[in-house]
Amino acid sequence: MNFNRIYALGLRHLYLIINSFPRVLDLIYWPTVQIFLWGFISKFFTLNSEYYNNTVGVILTAAILYDFLFRASISFNMMFLEEIWSRNFTNLFIAPIRIREIIAALTLTAIIRTLIGLIPAVLIAIPLFGVSVLKLGVPLIFLLLALYLFGITLGLLVTSGLLRYGPSFENIAWASLFFLAPLGCIYYPIEILPTSLQIIAKSLPLVHIFEEMRNILMNSSVNYLNIFKSISISVAYFIFGVIIFYISYFGAKKRGTLINMGE
């Protein structure tokens, strides 16, 4: 790994953000809208639901964590798509940067894009709805780590699809997370799902992350086994994502799509 090259590619995406105020606004806008929407829904449930009535902000905290996952994945995809849209793709792939350095650069830069969007939303939730994700305490760091790894994995899988099928795969990039959301048990306990779907859901880290989040907020206790499970599953998916990315890269070289990507 050459950190200068990783920094260079990261810098390319930071300059893109710095040079464009509408881009910063776009990053902040959607998470903030989400907070408002789920904040009011959360408030309504808190007042009217027996399940939630003692735990202000479970839904809003879930919305914030889910948005973190969503932003991480989309940030990764967006940075890759930017190279296609700007027709810079070939320049990037003929530069002496290794594939693992490209993955590292996009992974590290995605966190900055994600936080630019999410921090204002998290801060707004505190005075407006009296909800702070920081109430999750130290386990929050581990939950965010698991979410981030899984978000990046989804980003890797979508970018692999872009390498394989070209820009026509772009729509899948936007739809990918919505596909998994019902199985992630973000806003409801896993018991809500039919038994067969529960088995599939348990193979995703999301269930363990959001079950644990609810456990911490509702029972004021921490089940570290759940946290360990969520991180382990996320790491396994991440490794899988990296392998798929490499397979797609070598496949793209075979098909010659790297030389005319974006056309």
């Binding site: 920094y7 810098l11 300059y15 040079n19 700007s86 810079n88 070939t90 002496p96 030389i259």
Partner: protein
Amino acid sequence: MLIEVKNLTKIYNKYLAVNNISFEIKKNKTVGLLGPNGCGKTTTIGMILGLVTPSSGEIKFEDKNISLFKRDEILKKFNFASPYIELPKKLTVKQNLEIYGRLYGVDNLDKTINDISVDLDIKNFFERKTGELSSGQKNRVSLAKSLINKPEVLLLDEPTASLDPDIGDFVRSYIQDYKSKNEITLLLASHNMSEVERLCDSVIMMRNGKIIDNGTCEELIKKHGRDNLEDTFLKLARSKDEL
């Protein structure tokens, strides 16, 4: 021999894009790669740059198969410019050159960027976004990027396409001047025959994925009984028989 291409073939599904071609490029020489659209020039360039995996055959750089080099090790020695690929439009010229300088691990980056910018006369729009530039300006910035690492091998795909005669001449003169002052080997794909005559030591003519002839411009013109390279190109491109 700096670059040796041996029995190179590329098949996309069932389409034969490059058909068993072999050629050599000596160090510090400029070789023109000519042929009608779709003849396999870009695929050949793609294979040399490692963007396309050959179906068979090999490419050697300094007597070593290119596939045996580490990706960053070999690509440091190469660079490429084409009007069909661009630099990020929302970044300024300076930012783009800085990023590519870092990606190529250029030492003394500020000085290198400054020198190349003065030479290519791009300093006056250094702080402008690349997407806001005219095609002539973009072309010079793209050339600056392709020379930022002082490549041993530079591949140029139609470097003066869509440029007005004045800027086109500036770019050709610059390439000539740069070559006279630096050790660099050039592979130039072009449809501009006067450009090829002016810049290239020898040319390779391709058609339907095959090399149909090669030699110096003078040799080819004489061999095919034409007055200039353009007429020679037309004869070769339109002839049905292999030569």
